[in-house]
Amino acid sequence: MITFSVRGLRKSYGGVPAVREMDLDLRPGEILALIGPNGAGKSTCFNMMTGQVVPDAGSIRLFGRELIGLKPRQIWRLGVGRTFQITATFASLTVLENLQLALISHHHRIRALLARAGSLYRDEALALLRLVGMEPQADRPCSILAYGDLKRVELALALTNDPKLLLMDEPTAGMAPRERIELMRLVARIVGERNICMLFTEHDMDVVFAHATSIMVLNRGRLVTRGSPGEVRDNAEVQAIYLGSGAVYDADAVKGVA
């Protein structure tokens, strides 16, 4: 069964193609990493999937339902959880309140006037915070959290709508190395336990190769290859993109100059 499928996705800015012809499929339990150098089209791709950027052509389907044309909030309601590359949380709410609010929204109660928000879905929110290891900081305002902690709050927020698909834009950027490994282990565990799927972009190759079940490499808006971590590691074109083709800084060439 395919959860998420993208076909022929295209987007250009002022005539400059950012993404050309992108296809992908995601099945439950799959963790797909989207990698590539700066300007490869990762973020554009990502933002089209979350509804922030409207593609020029193509289709994005979740369980067969077209997502193009929907607003981010509508996509969320269909069961897509997301995190932001630069964290976006509610600074004047506590960590717990951030989670409670997302749960309130998930239960369609944002317009309730009579209830007291602070006592709604408290246990559910605490359980999510426990899952990401943020329970001890539940009562701190998000405005004073360390960046790595905010990333974990983001993950918890992304799980509030019981997602079938997780979209994470550089989930570990700005975190300490040990935190990165912990967070990705956690995400991998959640994806496995809930049998959902996940797509993420990332610059840290240790994170990518340790946790992704498959990897897509983009360069200049074009798909270079897709495969298992092992296949991608051995792909000559990928090596050329990341390490350079050797045409300029070839060892012999350097010697020749010297």
Binding site: R73, W76, S92, H106, R116, A117, L157
Partner: protein, 625 residues
């Protein structure tokens, strides 16, 4: 046809001086990000100083032409003083407080003008040498108008040269684009800001002095021009001089021709034009989107806390005191307390919108005024009893907010604030000009409460119950899912969207809700005073509300109530001692902004928290000893 042509030239002539003032405001905003409410005051000072120079300098005949530059330079000097003594201290304060401080300056200047030049309108002489008229297409066109028409493009060209051909001008343009980067490159920001503000003041003073031959000089000039200038600057795009030029022509012509089509509704026409342009182009004709998220500037990440249990006791005590007031205080005290209660509700409704919702309204008086007129008309024209008429108040307020809010929630930041001001001015203009319905300037008189509530004690209790109850409801709403969602939309719109929240729609609902409660306060006010005047929807009332909210502190819930009580008390107290109470209030506002940028309640709460944090340490030390 000829007549239309002369009307067109009249429009261009007024556009010129509008452009001078607007370009000054725009340049100042571009660099310092301060919306200078006092810009109209500088314009007014320019006119008055020019008047005095012409009348009392004894230079004789052509001295208007000397007075013109001297007045402009005098105002520039005043602007320089203002920048160095006040604005420099508040560049890092929240946007709203900057605005409030400059409004304090407006109040001070108003009274200073009253004190120095008196309350009468003053008539200056015609411009020497240009007193006559030229015949163009069989119409007499004042020579002075032609002079003004040519002056606008000249000033625009000079400004262009200044900004594009001088080193200083390049720095100003760079700072408008990214002032942090300019500072990082080693440019002395302080002197750059002072220079820009002085230039802006010079243009405002020149604009004011140029008005002297065209009409009377009056102490209402400041607010009158500032509202028009806001419109011009917003239509043109904040910080864009050429945009201001285009917009000044649009507004000048709209005024000139509007008066032919709707002589009663010229103000409405101007503001409708602004509303339409802003909805189509949210950042003005030539403006760019503001990078700063406004909500963040308002909130500063402060978490709302429920009051500690001790405060519950204090609250109970206050409630008992309020209930016992008829036995404790005089009739006068009851009167004052009633007024305070009404304003507290008004401020609390504004607080929900601006503090919790992050939509800073400069025009909350619109809903207060609509509520007042709604209740008064229901009582007088429909003959409804007070109980029903009081319901009409909040309903009219909510209806007004439903319409105005629909436009406002499409914008953000300063633009949203300006649009709220525009709608409030439309409401004011309608109340003022539609005399057959509203009685115009004479207002609606004889709006009396029902028999049971007509005594001061009974009306006090009615107000206390309605306002107290409403404030508690508003408070509850802040902690309800609705209130949390509203704060969330303020804190991070992008995250709100990512968790299924339609921020625009939610804000619109908040607008309607706040309009409802402001209308309720307005309705009560009508029955309290027994009358309604256009003043209830004026800028003054809007600013009163803002001052109350900010005095108390925008990120606390008791803030608006405390602010309303203090502000009302201060105004009543000061006005019994001096006619120049506005100036006193202005000075108090300025001092408060400089001393307590967070507001009084937040300041006290912070001190209390700090004290509590120290106390256990002191106790353990004592034990150890």
């Amino acid at each position: 046809m000829e007549f239309l042509f002369s009307q067109f030239l009249t429009g261009l002539a007024s556009a010129s001086s509008l452009f001078l003032v607007a370009s000054g405001l725009s340049i100042i905003f571009g660099v310092s990000r301060i919306v200078n409410f006092a810009h109209g005051s500088l314009y007014m000072l320019g006119a008055y100083i020019a008047y005095s120079l012409v009348e009392h300098s004894g230079l004789g005949g052509g001295n208007f032409w000397i007075a013109l530059p001297v007045a402009a330079l005098g105002v520039a000097l005043l602007g320089l003083l203002l920048e160095v003594t006040l604005l420099r201290k508040i560049y890092h304060a929240p946007e709203l407080l900057q605005l409030l401080a400059t409004f304090g300056v407006v109040l001070v200047v108003q009274d200073a003008v009253l004190m120095i030049w008196g309350p009468e309108d003053l008539l200056g002489p015609r411009a020497p040498g240009l007193a006559g008229a030229v015949r163009l297409f069989h119409q007499a066109i004042p020579q002075y108008d032609l002079f003004l028409i040519s002056l606008g493009p000249v000033v625009l060209a000079l400004l262009w040269l200044l900004f594009h051909r001088t080193h200083w001008g390049t720095l100003v343009r760079a700072a408008t684009h990214d002032r942090d980067m300019v500072a990082a490159l080693g440019v002395n920001q302080a002197s750059l800001f002072t220079g820009v503000f002085t230039l802006g003041a010079l243009l405002a003073g020149l604009g004011g002095a140029l008005q002297l031959p065209r009409g009377a000089v009056s102490h209402a000039m400041d607010l009158q021009i500032i509202v028009e200038v806001f419109v011009v600057v917003v239509i043109g795009g904040l910080g864009n001089v050429f945009g201001a030029f285009l917009a000044a022509i649009i507004i000048g012509e709209l005024n000139a021709f509007g008066i032919l089509v709707f002589p009663q509704m010229t103000l409405v026409l101007t503001f409708l034009a602004m509303a339409v342009i802003l909805v189509v182009r949210p950042w003005g004709l030539r403006g760019k989107p503001q990078s700063l998220a406004h909500g963040a500037a308002v909130a500063g990440g402060r978490v709302l806390r429920r009051l500690p249990p001790a405060a519950g006791k204090a609250f109970l005590l206050v409630a008992v005191l309020l209930l016992a007031l008829p036995w404790l205080g005089s009739g006068y005290a009851l009167n004052v307390a009633t007024e305070m209660a009404i304003y507290a509700l008004f401020a609390a409704s504004l607080h929900l919108l601006s503090g919790i919702g992050g939509m800073v309204s400069f025009g909350h008086a619109a809903y207060f005024g609509l509520g007042s007129y709604g209740a008064a008309l229901a009582a007088k024209s429909l003959g409804l009893p007070m109980e029903l008429a009081l319901l009409a108040g909040p309903l009219t307020g909510a209806l007004g907010a439903l319409v105005y809010g629909w436009f406002c929630v499409r914008l953000s930041g300063v633009y949203l604030s300006m649009l709220t001001l525009a709608f409030a001015q439309i409401t004011y203009a309608v109340a003022f000009q539609w005399s057959s319905l509203t009685g115009g300037d004479n207002g609606i008189l004889g709006v009396w409460p029902s028999h049971w509530a007509s005594g001061p004690v009974a009306f006090y209790y009615l107000t206390l119950v309605v306002c107290g109850g409403s404030i508690l409801i508003l408070r509850h709403i802040v902690f309800s899912p609705f209130g949390y969602t509203l704060r969330a939309c303020r804190d991070s719109e992008i995250r709100a969207d990512a968790i299924g929240i339609d921020a625009r729609h939610h804000r619109w609902l908040a607008f309607i809700l706040c309009g409802f409660f402001a209308g309720l306060a307005g309705g009560l006010f009508a029955f309290f005073k027994g009358s309604v005047f256009p003043d209830s929807a004026s800028i003054g009332t809007s600013v009163d509300g803002l001052v109350m909210v900010l005095l108390g502190g925008i990120q606390t819930l008791t803030g608006p109530v405390v602010g309303a009580v203090i502000y009302t008390a201060l105004r009543i107290f000061v006005s019994t001692y001096t006619d120049y109470w506005r100036a006193v209030i202005g000075v108090v506002i300025i001092l408060l902004v400089v001393a307590f940028p967070q507001g009084i309640v937040a300041w006290t709460a912070d001190r209390f928290q700090a004290w509590r944090a120290i106390r256990p340490a002191v106790k353990t030390k004592e034990k150890a000893a």
